[in-house]
Amino acid sequence: MGGIRNNVRDLRAAHEMTQQQLADRIDLTRQTVIAIEGDKYSPSLETAFRIANVFGVPLERVFQYQGERKKPRKG
């Protein structure tokens, strides 16, 4: 999804937390946590901050903007 990547799955595993437990902490459905971990859904800014708060890390530790991929120039 776009150029945003995240470490939610790694951070969740490090905190020994299930997807359902994380979902309950931030008022999301488990399916939304699955979509975020699969980089198929970018959460709102508020939800992103709430996820970072759960893991106790800065936002940029959880989400990274990779930028738009440029097409290679010809010639």
Binding site: M1, R12, A13, T18, L28, T29, Q31, E37
Partner: protein, 151 residues
């Protein structure tokens, strides 16, 4: 039972919103398919239309109650709302497209032959009901596809 390594959703773990959408789709198909098959071959009456709507309400109450009882976690989150918005947008385009097509058909009717005034009111009631039903189904299918593609 989920664990810390679970990644992809099996079909058995649909969210409450997805289950509710499948229930609505089932109710729509169960009630409206027999109705429209009937009115294509027989003249409709007001009691048919009212009966169909009452039947739909009863089917929805039964199905949605069953889904609500069977689902422990019934929360709605930002992704559900985003997907619902996508569904409403697609339904709007479908409805506008059908209204424009209907206006064109009406113009053809008036140009090439007069409409029977005895059946016109109920005929258009069925046509408008059909437009609403198709828009509703477009909305539900858009949402279900979005959930499966995990937007």
């Amino acid at each position: 039972m989920s664990n810390i390594f679970d990644m992809e959703p099996p079909m058995s773990t649909l969210s409450y919103q997805e289950k509710s959408l499948y229930g609505t789709l089932a109710a729509d198909l169960i009630v409206y398919i027999p109705y429209f098959v009937y009115v294509m071959h027989n003249p409709t009456t007001l009691s048919h239309i009212v009966g169909t709507i009452i039947l739909l309400i009863v089917a929805q109450i039964i199905l949605q109650s069953g889904i609500a009882i069977a689902t422990r976690n019934r929360i709605t989150d930002e992704r559900d709302r985003q997907i619902a918005g996508l569904g409403y947008r697609n339904a709007y385009f479908a409805l506008v497209g059908m209204i424009l097509t209907g206006m064109g058909a009406l113009w053809l009717h008036t140009v090439y032959g007069p409409l029977n005034p005895n059946h016109m009111g109920l005929h258009f009631l069925s046509v408008f009901l059909g437009m609403v039903v198709i828009s509703e189904i477009v909305k539900i299918l858009s949402q279900l596809i979005a959930y499966r593609r995990s937007i």
